[in-house]
Symmetry: D2
Subunit: 166 residues, 4 copies
């Protein structure tokens, strides 16, 4: 149990990665995973990251989810963190669950962009990382706002603006 697992982070975009564009005045998704790289640099560790889709989760299509599923099937990693927008995190997680993969997969993301306030995004990613290190059953999980468990047990509370255990 104390052996250290190699973890792959698949970064699909979402609020976690939004940055302010001073020219347009809009928040845009950074597709270079710079938030994850900054966390690794400050946490004094290294992450293996791939960046796909790069969308707000409301814009993710079924075609995107197929690309996403393939990237998970193709990687040799069995321990995977998925950074995903919060609005359809449950849909992508359900879709993976239907495919009964022999992997340990933890979804996370953020209610507030890392670029606006570092704490929630950092805590979500790090808690997913810690959870994944100790998990001993294959499955699809969500770790958000200190709530973590099977993907169908951790839900977004759209009124309070955070995730909670069912």
């Amino acid at each position: 149990m104390t052996s250290h697992k190699k973890i792959l982070i698949i970064d699909t975009g979402g609020t976690f990665n939004k940055v302010y564009n001073p020219i347009s005045g809009e928040l845009e998704i950074d597709k270079t995973s710079s938030a994850i790289k900054k966390i690794a640099s400050k946490w004094l560790c290294k992450f293996e990251v791939i960046n796909i889709i790069g969308k707000d989760s409301l814009e993710i299509t079924q075609k995107d989810r197929d690309i996403f599923l393939n990237s998970i099937k193709e990687t040799q990693h069995s321990h995977i963190i998925v950074i995903h927008g919060t609005d359809t995190m449950d849909i992508s997680a359900s879709y993976l669950a239907e495919n009964k993969l022999a992997k340990y997969i933890v979804f996370t993301g953020a209610m507030v962009p890392y670029s606006i306030d570092t704490v929630e995004a950092t805590a979500n990613l790090a808690s997913a990382y810690g959870y994944l290190q100790a998990l001993d059953n294959h499955g699809i999980y969500i770790a958000m706002n200190g709530a973590m468990g099977s993907y169908d047990m951790v839900l977004k509370d759209r009124v309070k603006g955070c995730f909670r255990i069912l």
Copy 2:
């Protein structure tokens, strides 16, 4: 495994809690756990915290460790995070290990105060939190800088200034 554990945070001081005093020009240990409270507020969750000792870990005495051990024996919580200075984290962890407690205890802390840069302290605490949620064997563990495992497997590298797996 997906049931959510109640976690107690025992905050003993250390770099994690240091704040700048503009009058003295020195870093001092905040004994009100304000860093932990800020993380909880921004992570959109709640922590149960007790604050004891309140020292730089180089100044922790055997008497402090006895107080610390008693506080762990007395609490009804079986899942505990200990915030501790990094220099003697291994000594306090070994001392608890000798006492063969039927508990799940994860030590963490920070190389950089939360008040100076939020990311490392937040990531250490959140990874300890995630790790503790999924652990299924009693024991004493350390979670620092993305390295986590049994307390005797995760060591401070005093040259590089971070913790690493042995």
Copy 3:
């Protein structure tokens, strides 16, 4: 010249005051001047502030400008900083200039919200404050991005995303 002037800050909204709403996922204008209050608290000084209009400057109407002009005519303060959105800062400044007020008025604002990155907004406000303390001719001025001078000499460069001296 070294006598300290009493300064009024009139906060009309704009990017300076935008904050992230995690429920809507949008940036919204905070109408409580909390950014200015935070700067005063950290700068260890006090500001006198009134908050009017509370709009993105693209949405400011002529009626808003009349309210704005009246608030300047009515106040007994002769030294005034105006926080204003950057897109129509020049229009509101010109409108005041036409009214030939016997006052010292410095417009400022921000390209990046204080809530996203504190530095530019803080520097703009503080430079306006310093400039206003030493000014000795009535007039309408702009202080942005280290450029400061008469309102018709400091312009927004919409390609580079900053203000520059003409």
Copy 4:
């Protein structure tokens, strides 16, 4: 008055420039003016900076002050900001004043290092910058915590931990 002055920043060290060293656990003076460079980058402007002395102001010697005076006499700039530690800012300012230079010189610094909290250091520097742009009498000035004026009128309140007008 609205013509833009070229300003030289002479950075002599002090709290403004302190950074945390995670290996030693101490705050040290950064001698590369990285705080000033970050402010320029985020303020979207450029500064001309020279770095001398690099000390906590309690450690500045008369020999250091002579080097400092010479650097001011030798530069062709007439408009100069001096970043200086707060404890002996008044002594260095008095020493310059005795030398009756035909220059405009504004001292500033910080009660809290830029690396710990950006706002006060940024506001002090930017207010000095704005003040210097509009000054029209030669002299030695201090701009700290929103108080600005002749060097003998702006004093450090060692109890409250900030500068105030006499």
